[in-house]
């Protein structure tokens, strides 16, 4: 324990003894240096130097050695180590001393040698005295020659100064050299191999490096070069002194370097140094095995990696500081082992003072530990410290050793590339790497952002403020001039009700300049209605931010367009995530789902970074990414679809969408507004205009007369010094100023009032007197900006249209000619809109002529006209209302029809044409349905009459076409039926042939109507219908022809069947029914099909299986029976048996039957029954009706050609073969 305390109390800085201390307390100096030497660890480079140096001394090469390093790099310790090592080599070494003069140096050497060689004191004293005397005498002679000072007095005085080290001069070094030669000789005589002198902190001796000192030093060094003495000189100095010496006396430095013992010890400490030093401590202090583990191996390795980096540590001084701390911890904290994590903790707390002066490691670790990523996990924080302790890289095994393997792997996965890097040795902090640090600052920023991102809630608390800071300036960029940008955005501040609110003024569209917009940004869950400033604003715009992921964005227009509420779902996950050129950033935000809130948070984070000091490249890249993120954010927050519910269509997204929205909202709200402010310098120009108004005649002020004058004079009216370019200048005033002539030296202009000036003049005239505020409010209602409204009033007053009377506005007694003219124009336009007006009204609408009529009389006349016009307008409006209502009823009647699907056309020759018609009608229906429903449900008075009329007309046309289409469907069905009837009726009479031709003609007509005329020809169906009716009537009348045709058909098909199946030709034929032609043919088909089916089935009657038949033969027979059953079943279906409409048997089925018969014949066994009889039986069976048949009736059909027993035998055989069923039926009593 005490040994470790010795380490703990060991000062990291070894003080250098002064020359006087060396002389006065030589034993103390020796003991102190000896203790330090015992714990000194010699670096390989120093060992090499020491060995060569000792040899050089021994070989009398008079070597000069020099160690260079800043404070803290162990110059003194190295010198002590060298002192100790040289002493081991039997050299007498004057320990490292600091001295301020050569005399002091000589005194120190003298003192130490006297202490070390007490037996050699006399010669040493003699030599030292000689040095002093020689030096003093030399100077005294100089004083005597120069100043006439008596030699004795001078010697006494100078010697005193020399002894106290106050004097150095060129001759001193020569005398010192002589002293050193004598001292070396004394040392040799005492049995030593040589003498070594060590001057520590050489800068003390060099002082301010004045000329005298440098001269003395030069003489000493140069002289030593030419001496062959077993004498060595060791110097230590800091790099500043080295630089000074190099600048002022480079030759001296070169002579020192020439000997080859010149070493900069800043770079000699390798990473194994702490471990070796600790081992040295263990040995020198005899540490117990437990004590030796006071610091673990990874900590020694980490310390080594730190101490080899002069930017991260103060080299050996840091090492000693840490080892002291480790020893202290062991001793004071219950034998706690010191780890790399303790090392970083001590750096963080400042317990370790020597942190490389700049504190790179502690400041970096402290910064990183502040990120929630580390704050959330103690393991991660511990691992960060562990990794920070190893600038070369912390191996995974080391992390495992502290139970931090999992966290090590997490950091490797999460932070590699931006915060940590994987080196050959393990994970290291990128910021601690000298080379290979990524140049890409953006990626590092993104990773750091990721480490601090926590959850949406954290952001939610600040969402409103961040939105104000980031989004509002993007939507409302700073004002450039009155027609571009906004002012006041930075004054939107937090209010007492927890919203950010304020009024901004600016221009989104030049069509609506200088709008005042009250902005309020608030949380969507704010329950109380906030108090917002909306004094004299054009629009209240509320952004309600909802951070819930399930929220939805919306836009609502309230108060007739004066208030817009934009609810923004900032926490909603973006469907497409980050896309396009910023898609790669999603990797840095994983696993957080991308939402506007996250991007806002990222922008806020990046915005706090100080980018100005970054390299240009990083700056440009980050700025570019910021721009893209902002664009993404705005597009995500304000997509075009967001405004869909307002019935305002925007095609842009982001800030563009807002601009479009404002423009259309304002256009809708102020449809007749035309801006007064049309150019950026409007204020100055209108000031000039008003001055011009003040300088022209009254009639010229209101445009009744032009201003005619020289160009110069006209330009001067507007404060323009030159008339060149006045025409361009005048154009900027728009309708306020007309340039009538501008030729030669003369010009003529006309100053015209803005239409709004006339309106307010009329308003005041109609009311007699008006508050200015009322007029102002009226103008604001019309859409004029606040500044415009004030300007219009001002212009009207300047023009003489209005007069200001305190806070009230009045007009001149009689209306001006301009007012009368304007009023007449307005009334004439109203009359024009009415169309024809009675003569008594039109006579009132004549121009005012001041020569024949007084202005008051003209005003009265126009009043009369206006009253009449108002009456006429009321009448027209009532008529219009009735008309609109009538149209609405008309449309409403068709609504049920519009809801119904159109019937599909029937199969037949017209199906294609009618399908096309149906499709077109369906499309029209689709287009008309919604407008019709909308109009009927909510007849918008603003909807133009022409639109309603057009809608009604289209619906009427559609309804008519739909009716005709229904008629066509009926027609097509009937046509198809007649077509079918004629198709099955074989021609054979002139009547039927004529009917065929007429039908074909009608069919062609119908198709051509559809094909060539299309929708327009739908009405033709009525004409075609009549012809079809006539043809049907003709068909009905041709009874005999039809019957004959039927019978021909029946005979033909009977004949075919009989031949095919070898049946009697007298097959049963159903009778023809004249009233139901189709039914007759259906029965015929059914009858024939039954016969054929049965006949085919009975083919199997003759197939008797022989008892000697082989298995193959049996299989063949079975197969044949199956085929017979299949064909029989198929034949039973008339649709499969016959070809329509000619009612002939299908050739393929005929062929199959024929083939079956051949195969049956081939398999037939010798039959005991005569074939003829069997044929008759088959015919009889084929002819049987459906259902059971009495055997006696079958016997009758056979007409005695077979006996009862034979018949029963045959039937029994057929029964056994499954071709028919014999049923025994026991009758109920009385029912036999």
């Amino acid at each position: 324990m005490s040994s470790l305390l010795a380490i703990a109390t060991k000062a990291p800085i070894i003080p250098t003894f002064s020359a006087r201390a060396l002389r006065d307390t030589s034993a103390d100096v020796r003991d102190s240096y000896t203790w330090h030497a015992s714990t000194y660890v010699e670096q390989p480079a120093l060992a090499e130097l020491r060995q060569s140096f000792v040899e050089a001394v021994t070989q009398a090469k008079t070597p000069k050695a020099c160690l260079i390093a800043p404070f803290g790099y162990g110059k003194t310790a190295s010198a002590i180590g060298l002192w100790n090592a040289c002493a081991q080599a039997n050299l007498l070494v004057v320990p490292p001393i600091s001295c301020g003069s050569f005399t002091e140096l000589a005194g120190a050497i003298y003192g130490w040698l006297a202490f070390a060689l007490p037996d050699s004191a006399p010669p040493l004293t003699e030599a030292h005295d000689k040095f002093l005397v020689s030096s003093a005498e030399s100077l005294a002679r100089h004083d005597e020659r120069t100043f006439g000072i008596p030699f004795d007095q001078a010697v006494t005085a100078i010697r005193d100064k020399l002894e106290r080290g106050y004097l150095d001069f060129d001759d001193v070094s020569i005398n010192l050299l002589a002293f050193l030669e004598q001292a070396t000789a004394v040392v040799q005589q005492a049995g030593y191999n040589g003498l070594v002198v060590m001057i520590d902190e050489f800068q003390q001796l060099l002082g301010n490096a004045n000329k005298g000192v440098l001269l003395a030093l030069r003489q000493l060094i140069w002289s030593l070069r030419v001496r062959k003495l077993p004498f060595g000189l060791v110097l230590t100095m800091d790099p500043d002194t080295e630089r000074t010496l190099s600048d002022r006396a480079g030759d001296i430095l070169h002579r020192i370097k020439d000997d080859g013992f010149y070493l900069d010890i800043r770079h000699i400490y390798d990473h194994a140094f702490p471990a070796r030093l600790w081992q040295q401590y263990a040995t020198a202090l005899d540490l117990s095995p437990d004590e030796q583990h006071a610091i673990d191996h990874p900590a020694l390795e980490a310390l080594g990696q730190l101490c080899e980096r002069d930017d991260l540590s103060n080299g050996p001084r840091t090492v000693i500081n840490v080892l002291q701390r480790a020893a202290e911890r062991w001793a004071m904290e219950g034998q706690a082992v010191y780890t790399p994590i303790n090392l970083i903790d001590d750096l963080l707390t400042g317990t370790i003072r020597f942190d490389g002066d700049r504190g790179v490691v502690p400041s970096l670790v402290a910064e990183l530990l502040n990120f929630p990523y580390f704050q959330r996990s103690g393991e991660r924080a511990g691992t960060l410290k562990l990794i920070a302790a190893f600038p070369r890289g912390c191996p995974e095994q080391v992390a495992e050793q502290y139970g931090l393997g999992q966290a090590w792997r997490e950091l490797n996965d999460d932070l590699r590339g931006e915060i940590v890097t994987e080196t050959d040795e393990g994970l290291a902090l990128i910021e601690l790497q000298r080379v290979g640090r990524p140049a890409n600052r953006l990626n590092i920023l993104l990773r750091r952002y990721w480490m601090q991102i926590t959850d949406q809630q954290l952001f939610a608390e600040e969402a409103v403020r961040v939105f104000r800071d980031i989004v509002l300036p993007l939507l409302f960029p700073n004002k450039v001039h009155d027609l571009n940008g906004w002012s006041g955005v930075d004054e939107i501040d937090l209010t007492a009700d927890n919203t950010y609110a304020g009024i901004i003024e600016g221009t989104a569209s030049t069509a609506f300049p200088l709008r005042r917009v009250a902005i309020s940004v608030r949380s969507a869950d704010l329950t109380d209605e906030p108090i917002e400033p909306f004094d004299d604003v054009d629009l209240q715009l509320v952004f309600a931010l909802d951070v819930r992921p399930e929220a939805a964005s919306s836009v609502t227009i309230e108060a007739n367009g004066a208030r817009v509420v934009v609810a923004l779902a900032v926490g909603r996950v973006a469907e497409q995530g980050l896309y396009g050129s910023i898609g790669w950033i999603a990797h840095y935000l994983s696993p957080h789902p991308i939402s506007p809130a996250v991007v806002l948070s990222l922008l806020r984070y990046l915005g706090r970074e100080h980018l100005d000091n970054l390299p240009e490249r990083d700056f440009a890249r980050i700025e570019d990414t910021l721009a893209r993120l902002r664009e993404w954010l705005l597009a995500e927050l304000f997509p075009a679809a967001l405004f869909g519910s307002t019935s305002i269509t925007v095609v842009s997204a982001g800030a563009g969408a807002i601009k479009e929205f404002f423009f259309q909202l304002f256009t809708r709200r102020w449809p007749s507004y035309h801006a007064l402010v049309r150019f950026p310098t409007w204020a100055a120009m209108l000031k000039d205009y008003q001055q011009a108004l003040g300088r022209v005649a009254p009639l010229a002020k209101i445009g009744q007369e032009p201003v005619t004058n020289g160009k110069i004079q006209i330009a001067e009216l507007f404060e323009q010094k030159r008339h060149a370019g006045f025409d361009s200048y005048a154009r900027q005033y728009g309708s306020l100023l007309q340039l009538e002539t501008w030729q030669g030296n003369d010009g003529a202009i006309r100053l015209l009032p803005h239409p709004a000036e006339i309106r307010i003049a009329e308003q005041v005239r109609s009311q007699g007197v008006c508050e200015e505020q009322v007029i102002y409010a009226g103008l604001r209602q019309e859409g004029f900006a606040a500044a415009e409204a004030a300007q219009i009033i001002s212009l009207a007053i300047a023009r003489g249209l209005l007069k200001r009377d305190g806070a009230q506005i009045t007009v001149p007694t009689a209306p001006t000619a301009l007012e009368l003219e304007t009023r007449l124009q307005a009334l004439s336009q109203r009359a024009q809109r009415l169309g024809r007006i009675p003569e008594h009204v039109s006579t009132l609408l004549i121009a005012f002529n001041p020569g024949v009529e007084h202005a008051a009389a003209a005003a009265w006349r126009l009043d009369q006209a206006e009253r009449q016009l108002s009456k006429l307008e009321d009448q027209a409006a009532a008529a219009m209302k009735a008309h609109r209502e009538s149209l609405r009823h008309q449309i409403m009647q068709h609504l049920p029809q519009l809801e119904q699907e159109l019937p599909a056309p029937p199969a037949g020759t017209l199906i294609h044409q009618l399908t096309a018609v149906r499709k077109e009608l369906a499309q029209k229906r689709g287009k008309l349905k919604d407008p019709a429903n909308t109009f009927v449900a909510n007849p918008d008075p603003a909807l133009p009459l022409s639109t309603i009329e057009s809608l009604a007309s289209q619906i009427e046309t559609w309804a008519s076409q739909t009716r005709y289409y229904a008629n066509w469907i009926t027609f097509a069905k009937d046509l198809a039926e007649l077509h079918e009837a004629l198709g099955r009726t074989e021609a054979g009479s002139s009547g039927l042939e004529l009917l065929h031709r007429q039908f074909d003609q009608l069919n062609r007509q119908a198709r051509s109507v559809q094909a060539e005329i299309g929708m327009k020809g739908l009405a033709e169906v009525d004409r075609l219908r009549a012809t079809l009716t006539d043809l049907n009537r003709q068909f009905d009348n041709l009874i005999d022809d039809r019957r004959a045709a039927y019978e021909r058909t029946a005979a033909r098909i009977s004949d075919t069947v009989a031949r095919l199946l070898d049946l009697p030709v007298t097959l049963p034929i159903p009778a023809y029914q004249p009233v139901n032609d189709a039914q007759s043919y259906r029965m015929l088909r059914h009858s024939i099909a039954t016969t054929v089916s049965r006949a085919v089935a009975l083919l199997a009657v003759g197939l008797v299986e022989s008892q000697q038949a082989s298995a193959q033969e049996k299989r063949n027979l079975g197969s044949l029976r199956k085929r017979i059953r299949d064909v029989s079943a198929m034949s039973r279906n008339p649709d499969k048996l016959f070809v329509e409409p000619s009612l002939s048997m299908k050739p393929d089925l005929v062929e199959r039957i024929r083939k079956l018969r051949d195969q049956v014949d081939a398999h037939k066994q010798p039959d005991t029954t005569p074939s003829k009889t069997r044929s008759r039986l088959v015919a009889a069976l084929s002819d049987l009706p459906s259902g059971p048949t009495n055997i006696s009736s079958l016997l009758d059909k056979m007409n005695g050609t077979i006996s009862r027993d034979d018949l029963l035998n045959d039937l029994l055989q057929l029964h056994e073969n499954g071709l028919l069923r014999l049923i025994v039926d026991l009758p109920e009593p009385g029912d036999a």
Partner: protein
Amino acid sequence: MTTFHVRHDFSPIVAREALLLLRIAPVPSERDFIALARSHDFELGRRQSLAKVFASLRDLGLINRGGRDEPLALTTLGQQLANLALRDELLLTELIHLRYCWLWTPENGGEGFAWAYQTVAGLLWDEAPTPIDTDRLVATIIAGAEEQFAFKGASFSPSSVLGIMHWLRALSPACIIAGTFRQRPACAPEALLITLEAIATVSGAPTGTALRLDAATRSRACRALLIDGDAFDDTLAQLEELGSLMRRTSDGGETVLLLDAPFSGLAPQRNQR
């Protein structure tokens, strides 16, 4: 090869507006288009005629070259860019820049205006950092047209340079700063992907084969994108991270296998995926 002039009437803002309007539906006529633009308070609506804007859109293959009476409608490529215009204006600009660049190649020839565009951009890239000297650029193009195409008196003027500068100035990160052209420190990953595919295509690499990233390829890509070498490497790393390409390094050098081909039809492609 009809003209070398790059229309100055066609700028990023009007291109974007035109694409956004046509994205909704075809427009029957120019007059209707102007009315539509005015109803949205677009810059396009302030022009008397849009003939030159439409001509540029047609030259770039973004709207159909229909007859006079046919409605104005986007091509498939135009539709893709219109969708992009809605959400990524900066990338849109970069892609139209690439469209100009790739409508002419030394291997396959193409449009004269595209040659002029890429020659001006390439010259600036070669000499970066360099001030924009319009007169010198005009003289270079006229002389180059004569040398390359034996075309005397090419129609190219300072306004043509302005037409090119509209696009170069709009690129992000900027390549023109305070009147001086500089190589850009970054570009959009998609732009590099399109460029590499185009280089592979015109150099005859079969579909599905890797592209060797030799010095010539790197230089050609950087020149087209106006970026420096570090930006090329950074963006390549991003593309690899996004899974759009696969990098292989061997003794024979580095190759990339392109796994994605966005914006079909914008630049030469081996396989229209």
